[in-house]
Each structure stands twice: as C-alpha cells, then as structure tokens.
Amino acid sequence: MSHISSYKTEIKLDSALSAGRSVEEDPGWDVLNEAVHATAEEMNLDVTRTFRDYYGRSIACDWGLVGPDIPRGIGITVDRKTGEVVFACDPYGGFERTAGEIKDRVVQNYASLCVAKALAALNYNVEVDEVKHPVEGKKILIKGVL
C-alpha cells in the first residue's frame, strides 16, 4: 500500500542538548545556518549578528536578516536551554508582513533541507524543484526515487 500524509512542522534544536552537548553542536544548527543564508540570497537580505529596535538599539542574535524592506532587521535566536528557535523583530511602522514573510521562508527552507537530507540518508536519489503558486506562494518540491 502507499499513502499520502500531511504534517505541520516546528523547528526545535534539542538533539545535542538531550545528549548533554551545546546547541551549536546540534545537527540542525548547520541546517538552520544554511536555511538563513538561502533565504538571504533569495530575498536580497544581508546576514548579520544583530537587529535593531525602533529606537535604534542593537540587539544580539544568532542570525540577523536585514534589507531595504526591513531596515531594522529580524533576529533569529536559538534558546540555549530548550533549543527553541525564536524569531524577533520590532515591527512598529509596518514591517510585520515582511518579517512574517522572512520567517516563513526560513522555516520553509529549513524543512526542505531537512527532507532532502533525510531522503539522501535513506539512499534515495533526490531532486529538488521550486514552483510559484499564485495564492499559496513558493512551494518546494522534493522527489526521492529508490
């Protein structure tokens, strides 16, 4: 039999933490780094280590994404105790939508990278493609053949 499954996803880098190691050693850390840089390239953003609030104060984060449409930037931080991935920005002045789009894209890229790596680890030949849906936005299609 074959089937079709749908899932909602959540990022939490807790594999290394549960083994008593630091979150930077988590296999997902490098994947998140890759997803952030892919998002920066796709959306013409710079990757930094800070973002700013309305008053111009700099806030440290693990990855910051800054661009013309979101000059204060959006920060991504992994909680060192729980592995939860937190997206933060100061949206005052109408940046909420752009911040949401960046967050969605990072999560989408992260999920796609994980799926491609999982299929490759199970010896599938993997192909990745992208389609743009007029309503649902970008979709990433991953095909694995064994």
Binding site: M1, S2, H3, I4, S5, S6, Y7, K8, T9, E10, I11, K12, L13, D14, S15, D26, P27, G28, V31, L32, G83, K103, D104, V107, Q108, Y110, A111, S112, C114, V115, K117, A118, L119, A121, L122, Y124, E136, G137, K138, K139, I140, L141, I142, K143, G144, V145, L146
Partner: protein, 75 residues
C-alpha cells in the same frame, strides 16, 4: 516498480508526502524512518492527515496483482 517519495513543502513549512510503489505497510515504516531523521535534524513533523491510496490508485502505480495460485488435486 521503483519506490518513490514526493514531498511538497509549503509556505511556513507545511509538508505533504506522497509514497508510491511501496508494498504492504512498508510505506508506513518508511514514513517512520523519515520522521526519525527529521526529528534528529530538529524538525518536528506532527501528522495532520494520513490518507491511504485507493485500490485504483495503487493499481495504477504497480499494476494489477495476480491472485495467489494454489495447488488443487486432480484425480
């Protein structure tokens, strides 16, 4: 027939996976293996729906299965 997994990752990370060419419950075992690797990479995938394919969909994938043959005594 080769085994095939087609995955669609939507906006904000919703994942839809279609398994094709798997016999019996092997597709569920494969889904579990994939889920295990995703978890180790930090991606928790919570099932929203699981829809088995219909007999006609499976037939289209793998062809009509022959009924198992059994011996009969001829006297």
């Amino acid at each position: 027939m080769s085994r095939r997994v087609d995955v669609e990752v939507g906006r904000s990370g919703q994942v839809k996976i279609e398994f094709s060419g798997f016999e019996g419950d092997l597709c569920y075992e494969e889904a579990e293996s994939i889920g295990k690797i995703l978890r180790s990479l930090g991606l928790k995938a919570v099932p929203v729906s699981i829809t088995p394919k219909t007999p006609s969909e499976i037939e289209a994938e793998v062809g009509v299965e022959e009924a198992p043959r059994r011996k009969v005594s001829v006297s």
